[in-house]
């Protein structure tokens, strides 16, 4: 790995069409540098130029030239360059190789691979967990937004593992007003239930927010056993214990 400090910059000037054992020179040099562990290399394509043969090579539309000048650049430590130079000279053929003393101010760093479990906090909630059900009406509002939508957003912002909103087809609550789903009306006054599962502390930490947002409604908490929580596969299965009768959410 290249370190900051003194180094050598190598520039190899070749023609695009030049070959080495039947393969374009730039590509065989690049492969060579790659497999010999050079920190990095770049192939630059020239617009126009001339070389030892004093013939002008340029990119014009009428003349599709395969003889454009190419420049391969890489920066390595002096020892590494000395080690590679012999072979490079052979491969470059009629091309030119230039060495230049240089200073690496900052070596490039390999971006760290994102870790498998580099995901927001709620990774493992298998085992004992708390299920929170919130019963509200579809018409409830929070800051002129539908309350159930606002609650889902709030839960997301607070890293609650997941939430599902259910719309009831019939129901009544605190006011004994019956919320009825009528197929032919566009009424949006159904009973709504939100069901969220997360660790006890996370759910309890979220309760003050629920309290702020829900003016009227019911929050029901129950203990559940989370059997599987797989966020990668985008499926959350929750099988509450059968002995407490939690057959479905």
């Amino acid at each position: 790995m290249l370190k900051a400090g003194k180094a050598v910059k190598v520039s190899i000037y070749i023609a695009e069409g030049a070959t080495y054992h039947g393969v374009p020179v730039y590509s065989s040099i690049l492969d060579f540098l790659f497999y010999r562990g050079v920190a990095g290399a770049t192939v630059l394509k020239g617009m126009a130029g001339f070389g030892a043969d004093h013939r002008m090579h340029s990119a014009t539309l009428v003349d599709i030239s395969d003889q454009l000048p190419l420049k391969i650049e890489f920066v390595e430590s002096r020892e590494k360059v000395d080690e590679l130079l012999g072979k490079l000279e052979e491969m470059a053929g009629s091309g030119m190789i230039e060495l230049q003393e240089t200073t690496v101010a900052k070596p490039a760093s390999v971006p760290a691979k994102p870790k498998e479990d580099d995901h927001p906090a709620h990774l493992k909630i298998e085992g004992k967990a708390l299920m929170m059900r919130i019963y509200i009406s579809e018409q409830d509002k929070w800051q002129s937004k539908a309350l159930h939508l606002a609650l889902v957003e709030a839960m997301r912002a607070n890293d609650i593992a997941g939430v599902t909103v259910y719309r009831g087809i019939l129901g009544y609550g605190a006011h004994h007003r019956v919320h009825h789903e009528r197929t032919l009306s566009l009424s949006h006054d159904a009973s709504i239930m939100l069901s969220a599962v997360d660790s006890e502390e996370r759910i309890r930490a979220f309760l003050p927010i629920v309290e702020q947002m829900v003016e009227e409604g019911l929050v029901v908490l129950s203990d559940v056993d989370v059997i599987k929580y797989a966020y990668r596969a985008r499926t959350v299965e929750e099988h509450p214990p059968t002995d407490s009768g939690q057959t479905s959410a």
Partner: protein
Amino acid sequence: MKEQFQARMLRVHFGERDTFHEKPLYEAIVSKCKDLGIAGAIVFRGIEGYGTSTRIRHSSHWTLSRDAPIMLSIIDTKEHIDGLLPHLSEMVNEGLIAMSDVEVIRYVRQDDVRPKGA
């Protein structure tokens, strides 16, 4: 206003086509709950499922004669739920009743405070 108490949650599972005295069973149960002064009841329609009869129930938009799975959720104090249970066992011929203890937080608007469980 906020009140917090231990309560019971009942969930009754049956089919949309189930009836009681020629009325959809879920409507019958909801009105029974109202009569008994149960705090609240809510009916959900599932999109697919199967139950005691191992008949696959579907909720299809294309048929009017759907028989989707129904889940009725009722929450109240233990006493109220105990009072409801005999009625439920009379009304539900085929289905499942599940019960669990829950912790309830109830938010009530300041201006219309009602007695608990009413």
